[in-house]
């Protein structure tokens, strides 16, 4: 039996070591998670090997012919053995519990100087806000500095996860949730939503970049400068409400960013935006669809954003697209989207 147990343990260990079970860590938190993972794995391999060895040995050594009518020895129990297999597992799991508790408290600790990033989730897009009201659809993080996320949802529950960074936290409407991530290597990653949030759930992702601290500061400054300009432009057109021919190109640029930030690409194919999702109608066919509905194109597009169930393209269901965009988009963003979608080039 000892031989079988050793063989089983070796096989289980090889399976544990040879397959790269966890993604290569990219955060301090994931380093600690990986430690707990291996701590538990060692204990589990031991238990698995023991159970496998007993089953195999028992079947091997104690199997009898079908016509053997004899009974086994009437052993009813063994108090010492029963105490042992109550106490030893209890000690082992408590050990896992203690290690986990220590790691948990470390992973929740943002340190003295965290970068605070606000996260806004909605069906089916992510938006990140840096200090100084800098908004971005891409999550950019500085290397070796704890980032503390403060997360809010506009509609249903979403969940933020970057697999290489381990940490995960639901984003819940009505409350603010927090999570800490401290990146340990630069590179590109993907943030994915892990809580089923409706149609576009599978494609509700956001790009993640980790930069050296100096590069991160440069990026933030650039965003600040660009954001101030775009904000002024948006304020100008939004306040004026007179989107003549001259401002249409400006609108389309804002429309392009709005298309990304509002998550349109999570459900719709639109070539100029480079999206290929197939949940909702293909927006490259808007001209034909508007003609079918018998409405001017711009009016058709605006109506479809604000009141999506007014006209349903054949082959699609009503009640699927969120009806909240009329409220969540500013008038400037809305007119920008209409301009962008009706094919006016973004400059």
């Amino acid at each position: 039996m000892v031989v079988i147990a050793v063989v089983a343990a070796v096989i289980a260990s090889l399976v544990a070591v040879l397959i790269r079970w966890l993604p290569e860590s990219a955060s301090e938190e994931m380093d600690r998670i990986t430690f707990v993972y291996w701590f538990a794995t060692i204990i589990c391999i031991g238990i698995f090997a023991l159970v496998a060895a007993v089953i195999i040995e028992a079947v091997w050594a104690f199997r009898v012919q079908p016509d053997d009518d004899t009974d086994g020895p009437p052993i009813h129990g063994n108090t010492k053995l029963e105490i042992a297999w109550t106490v030893v597992p209890a000690i082992l799991v408590i050990a896992i519990g203690v290690v986990s508790a220590v790691v948990l408290s470390k992973n929740a600790n943002a340190g003295s100087d965290p970068l605070e990033v606000k996260v806004f989730a909605q069906q089916f897009a992510w938006k990140f806000e840096y200090p100084g009201k800098v908004q971005s659809e891409e999550l950019v993080m500085p290397l070796h500095r704890s980032v503390e996320f403060e997360m809010q949802s506009a509609d249903v529950i979403h969940s933020l996860w970057i697999p290489q960074m381990g940490q995960k936290q639901d984003v819940v409407p009505g409350i603010t949730t927090k999570i800490v991530i401290t990146p340990t290597r630069t590179g590109d990653f993907t943030l994915i939503c892990t809580e089923l949030c409706g149609l576009g759930h599978a494609t509700m992702r956001a790009p993640v970049r980790v930069l050296e601290q100096a590069a991160f500061r440069r990026w933030l400054d650039e965003q600040r400068a660009a954001g101030a300009g775009a904000g002024a432009a948006a304020g100008g057109t939004g306040g004026g409400q007179s989107s003549g021919g001259g401002s249409a190109a400006g609108d389309a640029a804002l429309g392009k960013t709005t298309f990304a930030s509002a998550g349109c690409g999570g459900c719709h194919t639109f070539e100029p935006a480079g999206t290929d999702a197939q949940v909702g109608p293909d927006l490259d066919n808007l001209v034909a669809d508007a003609k079918k509905a018998g409405e001017p194109e711009a009016q058709y597009i605006e109506q479809s954003i604000v009141d999506p169930d007014a006209v349903i393209v054949s082959g699609y269901q009503p009640g699927v697209m969120p009806t909240t965009f009329g409220k969540t988009l500013s008038p400037a963003e809305l007119s920008g989207l209409v301009a962008f979608l009706s094919g006016k080039e973004a400059n």
Partner: protein, 644 residues
């Protein structure tokens, strides 16, 4: 050998009641009556809605969502139950018309047709449960094949995402609510009264009603595919507030759960009363077979926990149809409240789905090792330990949900501690095997297969209990792997083990051992190839419940999909074996396994009223190898021929 029809006649004479008037074919309980009473009740429900809307001046008066909800999901099912005849006796009694206390007209099965009628015999109901739940198992498995086809390659091939989410949700819902939970109720229905030495369950008519509520629940779940917008698509967990905003199919889930839950609760009460009050003389608690212990603790779990899921689904539905705000963030609703209430049922539900299996495995391991169960009392006590701990771990499903931080550590500790009583059971089974005389018949193969896979499921549970690992693994395919190791490798393996074990007792015929072994090995191998790689893709970064995924997981998902089709095909072997063996398998002896528990001391199949004389219990149920030991003494009932 008297037939019950004769007994029926004798009882009439003894009691002096006139027999109820023989009614016309459309008035007799049965499908023809259900055929007109069900639509009638639909119309009643419909015009209650229409009348109220007309009175209130609401437009439109014919609002089909409300009509389908009230008439289709509440009154029409009641009409069906009335028509089929589950309420007849009670209605006679209530209205003061003559009833026969000992009317056994609907008791026992004399031809295959009797299995399609309302019947009060626990053995018939047990088989009705098993066949019905097997149907839903096949449908649920078929849905899984459909979405595994979609997942075989990255990108979208066959379905849109709403349909995909609907398939995933319906698969889990059918498997949990109308397969695993009621399949155990079916096995226990058949075995528990016999094991106790009781003539039937305590409340046979309630037992029949419990069964007939199941097809209603299953039909509602499946009918959701016909709803505009498709089937409910929020997973079997159906989290608010998404669930209150989804298309109308979601309501079919909310209401289907009510019918399945009511069925569960009624059955559990029936088991509790039966086990407490109907044990044969000498059957002390410490002489009960572990299957009875397991169903006793399971029934306690059901009775205490199930009302919570009923409440949670009603509240989600009220948020939709009455615009309450239990779980919506506006107007003071509490989004996480849903998860707390849902998991307060659904974690104990995991034990509802596995404790009866523990009981089945204890019976089989002891009989096929020809040894007493090692540490019988600790085995029973560990069931109670799991029962108590089961109510203190629900929030381990919510480690990333945003609940109060302080709850994490205590919930982690109690979750880890559940490994202790579970470990006791596994180690005791292993010790029972040790030095036994092991016979590897199909039930035993499934029992050993169960221990192997369940240990893997239990160990992955230890990973998930550790909060930091859970934070990484939560809502990924690691979870999918874990629940299938627990619910397929755990529950489904034990259901198969139980069906093979009691098949000769249920049908009086023997299944084909070679096909049984083929079924075991194909299931065991395909199961592991399907679900083990899911641990890997999950930890590496593939979330669950996604129709599309990153291209890097394409190869493994192809392997998983192909293996899942093999797993589906292995069920065909099982079905073929069951059907052909029942029809023309070799006649089974009354006790082919040389077991000591009472059900094996009567004929196969047992007499309609189980025992001619109530057995006297004189010792423990697993005294194998003890010279001259007996569990029970039966007079007359033993080896008596079946009535058929």
């Amino acid at each position: 050998m008297t037939s019950t029809l004769d007994q029926h006649g004798q009882h009439e004479l003894q009691h002096g009641h006139p027999a109820p008037r023989r009614r016309g074919i459309f008035m007799r309980p049965g499908y023809l009556r259900a055929l007109w009473v069900t639509p009638l009740f639909f119309l009643i429900g419909m015009y209650i809605v229409v009348a109220l809307r007309a009175l209130a001046g609401w437009d439109p008066v014919y609002d089909w969502e409300y009509i389908v909800l009230v008439a289709g999901m509440v009154t029409a099912p009641i009409g069906f139950l009335l028509g089929i005849g589950t309420f007849d006796y009670w209605l006679y009694w209530i209205s003061g018309r003559p009833t026969l206390v000992d009317d056994h007209a609907n008791h026992g099965a004399y031809s295959w047709k009797d299995y399609f009628k309302v019947n009060t015999d626990h053995k018939v109901i047990g088989i009705q449960y098993l066949v019905t739940t097997f149907f839903f198992f096949v449908v649920g498995g078929f849905l899984a094949m459909l979405f595994r086809a979609e997942l075989a390659e990255p990108g979208m091939q066959f379905f849109d995402t709403q349909t995909f989410n609907g398939l995933v949700s319906a698969h889990a819902t059918l498997m949990i609510f109308v397969f695993i939970i009621p399949a155990f109720a079916g096995l226990a229905n058949f075995a528990v009264p016999l094991m106790l030495g009781a003539p039937d369950m305590a409340f046979p008519r309630l037992n029949a009603l419990s069964f007939w509520m199941l097809p209603v629940a299953g039909t509602l779940f499946l009918a959701s595919f016909l709803a505009p917008g498709g089937a409910f698509a929020t997973g079997w967990t159906s989290y608010a507030p998404l669930a209150s905003e989804q298309p109308f199919g979601q309501v079919f889930f909310n209401m289907g759960v009510q019918w399945a839950g009511a069925s569960s609760i009624a059955t559990a009460l029936n088991f509790l009363v039966t086990i407490i009050t109907m044990r044969a003389p000498g059957m002390t608690f410490w002489r009960m077979p572990l299957l009875v212990w397991a169903n006793f603790t399971t029934s306690l779990l059901v009775v205490i926990a199930t009302p919570f899921i009923a409440g949670s689904q009603f509240f989600v539905m009220f948020d939709r149809v009455m615009h309450t705000s239990f779980f919506t963030p506006d107007n003071g609703g509490y989004v996480l409240g849903y998860q707390h209430i849902f998991w307060f049922y659904s974690h104990p539900a995991v034990y509802i789905m596995v404790l009866p299996g523990f009981g089945i495995i204890s019976e089989i391991i002891s009989v096929f090792s020809r040894k007493p169960i090692f540490g019988y009392r600790l085995m029973a006590v560990s069931l109670i330990g799991i029962l108590v701990l089961a109510f203190s771990v629900w929030a381990h499903h919510m480690f990333v949900a945003g609940m109060a931080d302080w709850l994490r550590i205590p919930m982690m500790i109690s979750t880890l501690l559940i490994a202790v009583p579970t470990g006791i059971k596994v180690f005791s089974w292993l010790a029972t095997l040790w030095e036994g005389k092991i016979h590897l018949n199909t039930p035993m193969l499934f029992a050993l297969g169960f221990i192997s896979t369940f240990v893997i499921g239990g160990l992955s549970g230890v990973y998930l209990a550790a909060v930091p690992i859970d934070i990484h693994a939560s809502d990924t395919y690691f979870i999918v792997a874990h629940i299938h190791y627990v619910l397929f490798g755990g529950s489904v393996f034990t259901i198969f083990a139980g069906i093979y074990y009691w098949f000769p007792k249920m049908t009086g015929r023997m299944y084909d051992e070679r096909l049984g072994k083929l079924h075991f090995w194909s299931t065991f191998i395909a199961f592991n190839v399907t679900f083990f790689p899911m641990h890997w893709v999950g930890l590496d970064g593939m979330p669950r419940r996604v129709a599309d995924y990153a291209a890097t997981y394409g190869a493994l998902n192809m392997v998983i999909s192909v293996a899942s089709f093999v797993l589906g095909a292995s069920v065909v072997i099982f079905a073929f074996n069951m059907i052909t063996s029942w029809a023309r398998g070799p006649i089974a002896e009354s006790n082919p396994w040389r077991a000591m528990t009472i059900e094996w001391q009567v004929s196969s199949p047992p007499p309609v009223f189980n025992f001619d004389e109530i057995p006297q219990v004189v010792g423990g149920p697993y005294e194998y190898g003890v010279p001259g030991a007996r569990h029970a003494v039966l007079k007359g009932g033993a080896l008596q021929e079946a009535h058929v």
